[in-house]
């Protein structure tokens, strides 16, 4: 009798929960996905914390142990210290973590056929949104961890932490989302996770760095006079340059005896915000469309 009563109560509760459709169901499933993905990616998160710590110690090594060799680039106050730490290898860490968190976001379910279990329990849209948010949270925690290390170093050395660090954090968080969206876009059509990770790292590290140099020498854009809005990695420069605003945005670099070229070192704050939002929209839209159209092996 008691068990029948219990069953009836459970059935009633199930029926109540099942009435939650539409937006309420969207939010519930996205929330469930975030929670599941946070747990599932915890090990990856720990690995990336170690990567960020490694990048920090590399910067520490350069700025402290090789201090005398750095000459005019050696940090002299809190701002220059933060600029050095953030400007040196931090972008590399951002790229690695975006690739690691975003590489599997779509490709994994098709390559490993885990999508057979997920659908139709959840729609692709809700799954993608939930995954993006959860992985972005983990990525953001890694970034904050790095900034805590930098701020602590600044405090130990100069007994102060310049509050401009929060601008830098804001730009880093926005730029890391651009990177995550870009990797998600690659993940939406690439065969598997490993291939997506490797391709995105190589693309961001090599192709994106080479394009401005090639343009500069090719003469296609004379003296690089047009800001490089078409290269989204350019927006990453503002993460360190914002500590020194108003920064010199267009500079001519001379390497004696004969090498001289001009380049844009940072976008303006407005340009960076607008550009990054446009790239986020483009990458997310493309990723979403390709994801919706993509069929699993069994379909």
């Amino acid at each position: 009798m008691v068990s029948i009563l219990k069953n009836n109560i459970v059935t009633e509760q199930i029926n109540i929960e099942r009435q939650k459709v539409g937006l309420r169901r969207d939010i519930m499933q996205i929330n469930n996905t975030i929670s599941f993905e946070l747990k599932r990616n915890f090990r990856r998160f720990i690995v990336l914390l170690i990567v960020y710590a490694g990048i920090f110690f590399l910067s520490l090594l350069m700025n402290e142990l090789l201090y005398d060799l750095m000459g005019e680039f050696a940090p002299t106050d809190s701002i220059s210290l933060m600029q050095n730490y953030i400007g040196q290898f931090f972008i590399l860490a951002l790229i690695i973590s975006a690739a690691m968190f975003g590489g599997s976001i779509i490709a994994e379910d098709f390559y490993r056929q885990t999508g057979n279990l997920l659908f139709p329990k959840i729609s692709k849209t809700r799954l993608l949104v939930g995954r993006l948010i959860s992985r972005y949270i983990l990525n953001a925690l890694c970034i904050l961890f790095f900034y805590v290390l930098v701020a602590t170093t600044s405090f130990i050395k100069y007994q102060e932490v310049d509050l401009k660090i929060f601008y830098s954090i804001g730009w880093a968080l926005l730029y890391s989302f651009v990177l995550l969206c870009f990797v998600s876009f690659l993940s939406s059509f690439m065969k598997n996770t490993s291939f997506t990770i490797i391709t995105s790292i190589l693309f961001l590290l090599i192709v994106m760095q080479m394009v401005p140099v090639i343009l500069s020498y090719s003469g296609v854009v004379e003296n690089n006079e047009i800001p490089m809005f078409f290269i989204f990695s350019y927006f990453g420069n503002i993460i360190s340059e914002c500590l020194n605003m108003p920064a010199v945005r267009y500079e001519t670099i001379t390497h004696p005896p004969a090498l001289e070229y001009s380049q844009w070192s940072t976008p303006s704050e407005f340009g960076a915000a607008l550009g990054m939002i446009i790239y986020i929209i483009i990458f997310l839209t493309l990723a979403y469309i390709l994801y919706q159209r993509r069929q699993s092996k069994s379909e």
């Binding site: 459970v10 059935t11 509760q13 199930i14 029926n15 109540i16 929960e17 099942r18 009435q19 939650k20 459709v21 539409g22 169901r25 519930m28 499933q29 469930n32 996905t33 929670s35 599941f36 747990k39 599932r40 090990r43 490993r112 056929q113 885990t114 057979n116 279990l117 659908f119 139709p120 329990k121 959840i122 069994s298 379909e299």
Partner: protein, 356 residues
């Protein structure tokens, strides 16, 4: 179409799916009643998975409707109510592949919550379902350490974790060893016992005939038969007797024994002389005799065997045998239709059917 039965829990009405000019599913009409197991049988490419994916709303039907009963009301599946209706259905689409670094508890919790199972009751529900599958000791172990059979069990568990009334299993035993297949079949029967309605697709006759109350046979996207196993058997009117002798025949004696059996049994099979066959299966070490399926002929054959001093230790007519013949007949008919195209030849289908 006849009136909808009050007991119907799922109904496919004139369901069709067209890819370009090709009809993968054409005018399918099936009604599944509450608490029954309906087998969905057909060769690869017949339209089984397409039908199931339309039910899961992963594919939209080109024509026709799918109706699902929830809380006593039969409602038409649409984009507007798919969440609500599909909450009452549990799906296992082909072989389940899991994330290796998660435990059954973790993944089942996620699935239960996605389908709106009450959060406070989820943990108890997971433990009950896992216990039902005999995997309680493995509930917190990583799935990457599981065997294929265990993963399949977790796959079925994931289909029922939110306590749906309807369970849809698409080829649930594909790639499993015989022991694991048997276990999956037992679980399907267990699900029926606890009141679930099961829609089971397979290309293996034996698997379906072991558990299904009714069987829908699909070929080239069309339903060619939909009836109870007994009625289909009656329609088949032909079957195969499996005989095992006390002493398995030596290779050199085999032809003599086969000739002897043909001589004494051919007049008793009820089959025209040129269609008769008797053969020996080396794998199962059984003789197989094709007959008309009539119990009287079956009895005469047994009596004659005993009268001729054959030491018979097993004499059986597997149900799949009947169905197999009917299936081949039905498929042959549709293959011989010149208007159809793009499908395998019957010989290929026979080999698929014999897999079990």
């Amino acid at each position: 179409m006849k009136e909808i039965s009050e007991n119907a829990i799922v109904r496919f009405k004139n369901l069709s799916k067209k890819f370009g000019d090709f009809y993968a599913v054409s005018n399918v009409n099936i009604e599944i009643n509450n608490g029954e197991i309906v087998g969905f049988l057909g060769p690869n490419g017949a339209g089984k998975s397409t039908t199931m994916k339309m039910m899961a709303y992963l594919l939209k039907p080109t024509e026709g409707e799918i109706w699902i009963r929830v809380n006593g009301n039969l409602e038409k599946l649409s984009n507007h109510n798919k969440d609500y209706l599909l909450d009452n259905v549990g799906f296992l689409i082909e072989n389940p592949f899991f994330y290796g670094n998660v435990s059954p508890r973790m993944i089942l919790k996620y699935f239960a919550e996605l389908k709106g199972y009450p959060i406070k009751k989820v943990n108890q529900r997971i433990e009950d379902v896992i216990d039902m599958f005999g995997l309680s000791d493995w509930i917190d172990k990583k799935i990457k350490t599981f065997s294929k059979g265990m993963r399949q069990k977790i796959g079925i568990a994931s289909a029922i974790i939110h306590n749906p009334d309807i369970v849809v299993l698409d080829e649930p035993t594909t790639g499993l060893d015989p022991q694991a297949r048997r276990e999956v079949r037992d679980f399907i029967l267990k699900l029926k016992k606890i009141g679930k309605t099961i829609f089971l697709s397979s290309h293996l006759l034996y698997e379906v005939s072991e558990v299904a109350d009714r069987i829908a046979i699909i070929n080239r996207g069309k339903i060619v038969a939909f009836d109870t196993l007994d009625n289909l058997e009656a329609k088949a009117k032909k079957s195969v007797i499996h005989i095992e002798l006390l002493n398995h025949p030596e290779e050199q004696d085999l032809n003599n024994i086969l000739d002897n059996l043909k001589e004494i049994l051919t007049p008793l099979t009820g089959i025209t002389k040129d269609l008769n066959w008797i053969k020996y299966n080396h794998d199962t070490k059984t003789f197989q005799i094709f007959f008309n399926g009539d119990p009287k002929n079956q009895f005469s054959i047994l009596k004659t065997l005993l009268a001729n001093n054959f030491e018979v230790i097993e004499f059986s007519v597997p149900k799949a045998g009947l169905l197999e013949n009917l299936f081949i007949d039905l498929v042959s008919n549709s293959v011989s239709n010149p208007s159809d195209n793009g499908f395998n030849k019957i010989e290929n289908k026979k080999s698929i059917l014999m897999e079990e």
